[in-house]
């Protein structure tokens, strides 16, 4: 479904991505792990064109490298940035509604579904989203992207800095997304909630993929974990 080949990206002169290769199949859940600053966010940003990409990015067979982000989104690629950008002056409900790309062709996800799933969002449905807590913002941004009915959703560090209870809720949401047949690229730092539902795990180091395998294989691989994940 998504096929990235020899992806390079730069911030000014610094070479951040150094030939990233990765692929995600239909309905597959893949985690992208790695230490701080190895370029995981830059990878998803380059895929969305937020950082100018060099290399090949194919989505459902089409070359999307360098397209404007709205065109990429409309091909069915959803992206939830790590900055959890809720629209603070819009209400929670309006945030969700803006996730719909075309009001004449609404997708399979509906507003009430998310409000049922997250009572905290329901309670604040008509309040400005700026008042939400970090965890609530995260639930909102993921839900909002789902409203656009993506075939693949890329979620950047959804659990970072959140309390265990919230992390569990987000894990449940991600499981639900997977159960709905949506492919997922989950960016995380450590072995985490991701491990239980991921089909495949990628570990990144210094701007390229240094390990690819099943969660079980990664658990068993002391060397990779020692060198690229644990501090």
């Amino acid at each position: 479904m998504l096929e990235v080949k020899d992806l390079h990206a730069y911030y000014g002169k610094s070479h951040i991505l150094n030939g990233v290769d990765l692929s995600i199949g239909e309905g597959e859940v893949v985690s992208l792990l790695g230490r701080n600053g190895v370029g995981r966010s830059t990878t998803v940003k380059a895929i969305m064109g937020e950082v100018p990409p060099r290399g090949s990015i194919r989505f459902r067979g089409e070359q999307i490298a360098g397209l404007p982000n709205h065109r990429i989104a409309r091909k069915g690629l959803g992206y939830v940035p790590e900055s959890r950008d809720v629209f603070p002056t819009l209400t929670v409900r309006e945030n969700l509604e803006l996730g719909v790309k075309n009001t004449r062709r609404p997708g399979k996800w509906k507003v009430p579904q998310f409000l049922d799933m997250f009572p905290n969002l329901a309670r604040r449905a008509d309040a400005p989203a700026g008042v939400l807590s970090g965890g609530e913002k995260q639930m909102l941004t993921i839900s909002r992207t789902l409203m656009g009915d993506p075939a693949l959703i890329m979620i950047d560090e959804p659990t970072e800095g959140l309390a265990p209870l919230i992390v569990k809720q987000i894990g449940e949401l991600i499981a639900e997304i997977a159960a709905a047949g949506v492919s997922i690229l989950l960016v995380e730092q450590k072995l985490s909630i991701a491990m239980d539902i991921s089909h495949r795990v990628l570990v990144m180091g210094h701007g390229r993929i240094v390990f690819e395998g099943t969660p079980a294989a990664l658990r068993g691989d002391q060397t990779v974990r020692g060198e690229w994940l644990e501090v």
């Binding site: 969305m48 937020e50 404007p68 982000n69 709205h70 989104a73 409309r74 959803g78 992206y79 940035p81 950008d85 629209f87 603070p88 002056t89 819009l90 309006e94 945030n95 509604e97 803006l98 996730g99 790309k101 009001t103 909002r144 992207t145 656009g148």
Partner: protein, 313 residues
């Protein structure tokens, strides 16, 4: 006295609403695109001149509607083929671009219509009094322009608060890239907002031209005041721009209308000074054009974020 108060209030409100028509577009464009459009007042002037020129052929009313549309289209073209390209080279380039554009428009107006005012005025019938108070007439035209300004304001509010496009605009004010990630065409939205802002400015010119004066200096004389409104209201705040527009409109109009000197004021406060002295003899009316800038300086010193501005940039 009562007469002065009533009419100054009405005129001040009208002037304030005209200012808001200009400043609302400017502030929307600024907060969405980060572009301080120095050419904004030039689009206002174009509105007046287009309405004048069109009016000669198709009559006052059709021109009143067509001129802002034409200017909006022009604005869209400027954004699409000018600003959007310049944008890649950063904000300074954009600023210089709009700065240059303002001169190009101003000089073009000079070339096409000469350097003296053109006789753009409301039809005879509209200049009749709408009502008379204390022996002074309030023309139908002023009433009509007030109506148009208020309708425009309601329409703008409705657009921003009640429509999906308005939702996107308000979302893009804070997180433009995210709106794009959700699959909405943000560059097109920018173009629309720029065009709409230019159209609003032109509408202010169309209805303000006959009230003020349609001459090649009108952009240069109003432009700075509009910038003051945006800063005083708080960069990027629509409601701030609204209050600042009305405030400046009213203050300026009252200063013009009040036949008092600084000395008179001081005398009234209990200081005994010569009401005809060199400084004390200066009338409030002659200070009027300066008042927006005094306000600007004061705001920047005492409340740098403006009346309604956010704390963070």
């Amino acid at each position: 006295m009562l007469e002065v108060i009533v009419f100054s209030t009405l005129n001040g409100l009208l002037y304030g609403l005209l200012l808001f028509m200009l400043s609302s577009g400017l502030t929307l464009i600024f907060s969405m695109m980060g572009v301080l459009n120095f050419a904004h007042a030039s689009f206002y002037m174009l509105g007046a001149y287009f309405a004048y020129a069109l009016g000669l052929h198709i009559g006052f009313w059709p021109a009143l509607f067509l001129a802002p549309l034409l200017v909006a289209v022009l604005g869209a073209v400027v954004e699409r083929f000018g600003l959007r390209r310049v944008h890649e080279n950063g904000h300074v380039a954009e600023l210089l671009f709009t700065f240059g554009l303002a001169y190009v428009i101003d000089e073009t107006v000079h070339l096409l219509w000469g350097s003296i005012p053109v006789s753009y005025s409301a039809p005879e019938a509209l200049r009749a009094p709408l009502f008379s108070l204390f022996g002074t007439d309030y023309s139908i035209y002023r009433g009509v322009t007030m109506m148009i300004a208020i309708l425009m304001f309601v329409a703008l509010w409705f657009l921003l608060k009640k429509t999906r496009v308005g939702l996107m605009i308000r979302a893009a004010l804070t997180h433009g890239a995210m709106v794009g990630h959700l699959g909405h065409n943000v560059p097109r939205l920018f173009m629309g907002v720029f065009a709409f802002g230019c159209g609003l400015a032109a509408l202010a010119g169309v209805i303000g031209g006959p009230l003020l004066s349609t001459e090649p200096g009108m952009a240069q004389s109003l432009g700075p005041v509009v910038f003051v409104v945006v800063v005083v209201g708080g960069m990027g705040s629509l409601s701030g721009a609204f209050y600042a527009s009305l405030l400046i409109g009213l203050v300026q109009t009252f200063f013009v209308a009040l036949d008092v000197s600084i000395g008179d004021l001081l005398n009234g406060l209990g200081f005994a000074v010569d009401p005809y002295g060199e400084v004390t003899g200066i009338t409030l009316a002659s200070i009027a054009p300066m008042t927006p800038f005094i306000l600007l300086v004061l705001i920047l010193i005492f409340r740098p974020r403006g009346l309604m501005g956010e704390l963070e940039p």
